[in-house]
């Protein structure tokens, strides 16, 4: 069904709010979906990529399927958001990536005028044997930080499958983020997960990344790069368990703290097989003095130098 003129206008405003940041691309050979509140305001599908959307009172329920053996040449673009200052958007997503399929998804979440908005995401992702699924979620929030973001995702990565995901919130004020990813990995699978967040003001950021390497030779890297300043608080809980022979992984948490901000990192690594191996590193502190002095000796003032260092870490 063709969108109404009102839906077209809403989609245009939603995408315009991304500015240069979004890179939300359209084209005949590019699948895309735009959701404002609980309304689909734009969409386009390509062969092998199926989407069924059911509206909920406060959001949508989306069933996404990448059919067996289909390899999408161009990234799928999703845009979720709300233009008003207040409201609730709940996204329930069920993703099925069938055997040997490939899909890369660029999701943009935009709340440019948020004063009191809640954005909830409950997702279940199943990646079948030999398939690859990439999901990059970038958030653009307004200057006030009035957004509560609660993404909860459970992922099953099948034998020999790959899952790569990035969550990025570095533009605008984060608000409150309660990020929870739980991933189970089968044999010979690969997981690469990174969260990059810049908290300011009174932002509250909680990251929970849990991965279980249940199959032989499964590998995972969990990374969290967080910067907090003002009175922002960040708590990062990374948990990685290696339960099979040859399973190996690495947990990496880096946090830069400025002003009265507080950061906490709790890495939990668990090895349940003598031929499994996991490493972790966590670094929390202020901006590196030598980096700062180097940039200041090129003429940048302290604030600009600090911002550039943080942009690098989060970029």
């Amino acid at each position: 069904m063709s969108p109404t003129s009102q839906q077209v206008e809403t989609a245009r405003e939603l995408l315009a709010s991304l500015g240069d940041f979004g890179g939300h691309v359209k084209g005949d050979d590019i699948a895309h979906l735009e959701v404002h509140g609980n309304e689909v305001v734009g969409s386009h599908l390509v062969p092998g990529f199926e989407v069924d959307v059911d509206p909920l009172e406060d959001g949508i329920e989306a069933h996404i399927r990448v059919k067996k053996g289909v390899r999408l040449a161009k990234p799928v673009h999703l845009c979720f958001g709300m233009l008003p200052e207040t409201g609730l958007q709940r996204i329930v997503m069920d993703v099925e990536v069938e055997e040997d399929a490939f899909a890369s998804v660029q999701a943009h979440c935009t709340f440019p005028n948020a004063v009191d908005i809640t954005h909830k995401m409950d997702a279940v992702v199943r990646i079948a044997a030999g398939a690859t699924y990439e999901y990059f979620e970038r958030h653009l929030h307004g200057a006030e930080g009035g957004v509560l973001v609660v993404p909860k995702t459970k992922v099953e990565v099948g034998e020999g499958a790959r899952f790569k995901t990035e969550f990025e919130l570095i533009k605008g004020q984060a608000g409150v983020i309660d990020f929870d990813y739980e991933v189970d990995c089968d044999a010979h699978s690969l997981l690469d997960m990174i969260a990059r967040i810049w908290g300011r003001g009174h932002d509250r950021i909680t990251i929970r990344e849990t991965a279980r390497l249940n199959g032989e030779e499964a590998t995972a890297v969990l990374q969290s790069h967080i910067a907090v300043k003002d009175e922002a608080v960040a708590d990062v809980y990374n948990s990685l368990a290696a339960n099979a022979a040859g399973a190996r992984g690495h947990v990496d948490c880096k946090e830069i703290v400025q002003g009265a901000a507080i950061a906490k990192a709790v890495p939990v690594v668990e090895v349940n097989h003598p031929r499994a191996h996991i490493t972790h590193e966590a670094a929390i502190g202020s901006v590196d003095s030598k980096q700062l002095q180097t940039l200041m000796s090129r003429g940048l003032d302290e604030e600009k130098a600090t911002d550039l260092i943080i942009e690098g870490l989060l970029g």
Partner: protein, 248 residues
Amino acid sequence: MSLLELKDVSLNLGGKDVLNNLTVEFWEGHIHALIGPNGAGKSTLASTLMGLPGYTHHTGDILLDGESLVGVPVDERARRGMTLAWQEPARFEGLRVDRFIAAGAKDKSTDTVRRVLDRVGLDPEKYMRRAVDRTLSGGERKRIELASILAMEPRLVLMDEPDSGIDVEALNRIFDALSDFKERGATVIMITHSQEVLKHAEHAFLMCSGSILEKGGVGRIEGYFASHCVPCDHENVPDIDELAGVEA
């Protein structure tokens, strides 16, 4: 004409006098070498001139263009035309080479970034989008730092051991950069022990125990340093009379 002038500069670090009553002028548009044994205070002097934290509580005065730098922070000194090339350049996780170079560049255009990378012998296509992090060798980071300084177009460059940790190819590129600085009329003060590097200097200063003992022709100063300071045969109490007798 002197660009930089030190008047009776002394610095105590942790109860130890590391710079002692330094009074010296560095002429504008020349390449100066600062030679001395380990622990002589050469790097401390560079940090003090740049105004790095922990090195600002010196006594005496440092003047750039006749204006005191006392109380002037690092970034303001840089904006007045000074900069420092570190012996071991910093690593910046995730910060791209082009962003790093452009940050302090006088002209922040991509063309400038390409030009300075090319000048230090690094292919812009290969390096611009890489990060200034641990994936680069020490020599590559040294060249990228030099590129960032070329882009800055400073009037005074402090170079701390420009030859340390790099290969012959990189060293030749550093010499190219020295030529560029010279051509533009910039002043360079470089700390070095390398005979190869010293060939590119026009004047030398011998530093020992926080004092500048002598200045003059590179050959004379280097000759004394090579025969007496490696190893130091005066236990950091140099023989001034003997130094005066060394021929250029």
